[in-house]
């Protein structure tokens, strides 16, 4: 392992640290123990690495997290403004940038408010405290007597100085290691955090200001495209370059092993050359045998796997004499991130330095892998985050960054903008792997679950750049001197990988949960919003309804009878109340209502969903008129921003549950555009109602936890409407008709 990539051990350790941070910060507010240094500050101690006063009366705040469309820069600006006693409009946010920003690894797992927010809160409180102390010296008063408002410090006798006036007297004032001794504000004193504010990026995005990496234009920039193999495993046998080289505008053709790319003066010329090259390329017949898509539930458990027991308890406890055993198997399709904008990057090799602008989720980890593949020193490569279309996880963004860098290396001095075409994204970006789940439980005569056994099979959902033991960048695997993929990391509970949320959220004295990590990847796998939590909660919460029925209990009462966590109970009861849940209500063959519950990662946000369905028995189309969700995300930074995330997750889950699946035959992916990979459209969108539970507990992240319960509640609604259950996602019309 070279470069700055994490070793596997460090990766596991850093996750362990996150657990520790969480456990400590979720303790009682009155705790006397000294507050631990926020996670993100530990390797980024310098105050000037987080906060800088600028001459124009603004403050620049640096974060290592990336804006992915989730609104994180706005929320972080609110946190900084709150602690600095400033208007949030005067905060300028700079997101992940290896040339000048902190290293916060990846933007994933709904942890940005928790991690970067805690660091920025501490850094901002420290900056304010330093500024007040300097002002106190100037005014010859005690620091505690000063007040700060909108960036102006006022003394008791009315003298004033702005932060910038104070700082201008000493250029080193805000430089140094953060001691994290300045106490941040109490949540009860917040005036900006907790208020709905408008996203800082929307006025520009909605009027056509350059906002995305796709909008970057540099002097002398050329446009590039790649030519990918038609299927996994195919090798380039021959390439007749003549036709493409003779096309107008072509400035470079890059071939290295199986990697083929072309650059041209104009974008349409690059696309024409790409098409010419694709026609002229001969690929080997090699292929990876893909699973039978119609039988994932049976096929995935047959693949080579490493089995780990991720949770076990009470195995030696005796079982009651009279028990009823119930079991069921479930599956979920492979999913595409299906970003509306195909992946894109700009790369520029200038004076021996490679600069790459990318919509990566991990600027620093990507830099390490790029340096390895380019055989450059890490410090000779910089990765600067620029926004792309919403990615919802690990799409082709990192791969496009390497593609662009490989072309830029061949065109030293000229900036290269490389964008994937639609079929590149749909056939070569990582997919959320298909999943198979099996649950068995035993019910006692009193309706309690007395035994629980759970198995999940899937490939790793964590194959990002920067992981130990290889390189996780597409083009690197087919170069003349190829790199190998990193093996999947071991991500312990409660985070988990394919086993995220595999441990059930209920009080079950006797249970065992096994994760079968599949070792061979028939289709390229990676991280998609919630990792395995979506499939696991679909299975667990579908099964809870199935055993509630076997126990002749109402699904809500049955869950509450097995759930002690008061915040979990509260969201279930709130969702049921808002939806008008009627215990014991049965469907009429067409209409039905279902509910489901999840605490994301078993340590994150709480969410309960109630979904209504209308089933068209003739066409097999399931319509969803209404979805209700109650959520508890702890302290809310931007309520409207959080609602937007939760709503978005609900609708994406609906899309996944009803429609989405990567299509493939035994040789290759066949869903290559939007006609093959359908997503939810406007006429299919239901009314969505959300209630956010009021909480001053630590923020839990809002980006992902709404998806899993939505899917399960929909499956339960269908079962209640029709008396038939669909255990394989998506619930396509064919599957609906077959079930009926």
């Amino acid at each position: 392992m070279t470069g700055n990539g994490l070793t596997r051990r460090r990766f596991a350790q850093s996750l362990g640290v996150i657990i520790a941070t969480f456990a400590l910060t979720s303790g009682p507010a009155s705790s006397q123990a000294p507050a631990p240094l926020p996670f993100s500050l530990r390797n980024n101690r310098r105050l000037e690495g987080w906060i800088r006063l600028d001459a124009d009366g603004t403050v620049t705040v640096f974060t290592g997290k990336a804006e992915l469309g989730q609104g994180i820069l706005t929320a972080l600006a609110q946190i900084a403004a709150e602690e600095l006693d400033m208007e949030y409009e005067r905060i300028r946010m700079v997101s992940a940038d290896t040339s000048r920003g902190p290293d916060e690894q990846y933007t994933f797992g709904s942890q940005s408010v928790e991690q970067s927010g805690s660091a920025i809160r501490a850094a901002s409180a420290e900056a304010r405290s330093i500024l007040l102390a300097a002002a106190a010296r100037r005014f010859a008063v005690r620091s505690e007597t000063l007040k700060a408002r909108n960036g102006v410090i006022v003394s008791p006798d009315g003298r004033q100085a702005t932060y910038w006036e104070i700082a201008s007297a000493d250029p080193d004032l805000l430089k140094g290691d953060i001691a994290a001794t300045a106490a941040p504000k109490k949540p009860s004193d917040y005036s900006i955090v907790g208020k709905s504010v408008q996203r800082i990026d929307f006025p520009g995005k909605l009027t056509g200001a350059p906002s995305f990496v796709q909008d970057m234009r540099l002097p002398g920039m050329v446009f590039a495209r790649v030519v990918r193999p038609p299927r996994y495993g195919a090798r380039l046998i021959s390439l007749d370059e003549a036709a493409a080289r003779s096309l107008p505008g072509v400035v470079a053709l890059v071939r290295d092993g199986d990697f083929v790319a072309v650059a041209a003066e104009r974008e349409e010329q690059a696309i024409a050359a790409r098409n010419a090259l694709a026609s002229a390329a001969r690929w080997s017949d090699d292929t990876a045998l893909l699973p039978d898509i119609s039988r994932l539930r049976e096929e995935l458990p047959k693949l080579r796997a490493e089995t780990i027991v991720v949770g076990t308890s009470g195995q030696s406890a005796p079982l009651p004499d009279e028990i009823k055993r119930v079991s069921a198997e479930y599956s979920r399709a492979y999913l595409s991130h299906a970003s509306i904008g195909p992946s894109c990057a700009v790369a520029w090799l200038k004076d021996g330095r490679m600069m790459v602008w990318s919509h990566t989720q991990g600027a620093y980890p990507l830099r390490g892998d790029l340096a390895k593949v380019l055989r450059m020193q890490t410090h000779e490569v910089d990765v600067i985050h620029m926004q792309g279309a919403g990615c919802y996880g690990h799409n082709g963004g990192d791969d496009a960054a390497l593609d662009a860098a490989l072309v830029a290396r061949a065109l030293a001095g000229r900036p290269v903008k490389l964008q994937w075409m639609r079929d590149d994204e749909f056939t070569h970006a990582p997919f959320s792997p298909g999943m198979a789940m099996k649950v068995e439980a035993a019910l006692a005569a009193d309706g309690r679950i007395v035994d629980w056994s759970y198995d999940v099979w899937s490939n790793s959902h964590a194959m990002r750049p920067g992981q130990a033991g290889g390189v996780n960048l597409l083009a690197s695997w087919g170069l003349e001197s190829p790199f190998t993929k990193s093996p999947p990391p071991h991500i312990p509970q409660p985070f988990g990988d394919g086993d995220r949320n595999a441990p059930p959220p209920y009080e079950l004295p006797r249970k065992e949960i096994r994760n079968h990590l599949l070792l061979d990847s028939p289709l390229r796998n990676g991280s998609f919003r919630t990792l395995g939590a979506h499939g696991n909660i679909f299975a667990i919460e579908s099964f809870m309804d199935e055993i509630a029925k076997a126990a002749d209990r109402d699904p809500l009462a049955f869950r509450l009878a097995h759930l002690e966590d008061p915040r979990g109970r509260a969201v279930l009861q709130a969702a049921a109340k808002m939806a008008g849940w009627v215990p014991g209500e049965q469907g009429d063959g067409r209409h039905g209502r279902g509910l489901a519950y999840c605490r994301y990662k078993n340590i994150g946000m709480y969410a309960a969903a109630v979904v209504d369905v209308e089933v068209d028995r003739e066409s097999g189309i399931v319509k969803v008129p209404r979805i209700v969700m109650a959520a508890d995300i702890g302290c809310v930074i931007n309520p409207d921003g959080a609602r937007n995330q939760i709503e978005g997750g609900i609708l994406q889950a609906l899309s996944i549950t009803l429609k989405e699946q990567v299509l493939f035959d035994r040789r290759e992916v066949t869903s290559r555009d939007w006609s093959g990979y359908s997503i939810l459209t406007f006429p299919e969108v239901p009314k969505v109602e959300i209630v956010l539970v009021d909480s001053s507990d630590p923020s839990l992240g809002a980006g992902e936890g709404s998806l899993p319960p939505t899917s399960a509640a929909l499956a339960n609604a269908f079962a209640r409407a029709t008396g038939r259950r669909i255990r394989d996602l998506p619930m396509t019309p064919d599957r609906v008709k077959a079930a009926l």
Partner: protein, 158 residues
């Protein structure tokens, strides 16, 4: 690609002379010759609507219409509606309703809504959903977008 030629093109009220092959999709001319950011490349197949603009009076997928076929029709893009300082009622209502997440599809949403409001000043919720049926949003901002269009319609009626 055909031979490069000169084309006269009126975009957002200004006339430009563009040198490009006649079969160049309008999208690349708007983005790369005229430096506009509103229309986005999404699929190049006319399926997603991210590249939408108004050509003449019609909503068009600019990835699927050739430069040589524009003729004298004026092209209106997102930039032609308004600016951050002086937004069109639709742009203002999208901000007011926070009707986006990543914002990559927003160009198509706003431009398609403009085409709808040009022919129907008081669209119902279903009218809006049907008008946007071929505009894809992956983030799940749909309900906010519908509210924003209704809000803009009300604003334009006042």
């Amino acid at each position: 690609m055909g031979e490069s030629m000169s084309y006269r093109l009126t975009v957002n009220g200004e006339t430009h002379v563009v040198n490009a092959a006649g079969d160049t999709p309008l999208l690349y001319v708007l983005r790369n010759d005229l430096g506009l950011n509103g229309p986005k490349f999404g699929c190049g197949l006319g399926q997603c609507g991210a590249c939408a603009a108004i050509v003449g009076k019609d909503l068009q997928r600019t990835c699927s219409i050739a430069l040589q076929d524009i003729g004298g029709d004026e092209v209106i893009t997102l930039e032609g509606l308004g600016t951050a300082e002086k937004p069109h009622p639709l742009q203002k209502s999208f901000v007011d309703e926070q009707a986006a997440q990543c914002g990559y599809c927003s160009n198509g949403m706003i431009v398609a809504a403009k085409a709808l409001l040009d022919r129907n000043r008081d669209p119902s919720e279903d009218d809006i959903k049907n008008a946007l049926a071929d505009q894809l949003c992956r983030c799940g901002a749909h309900n906010r977008i519908v509210r924003a269009v209704r809000r803009a319609a009300a604003e334009l009626e006042r």
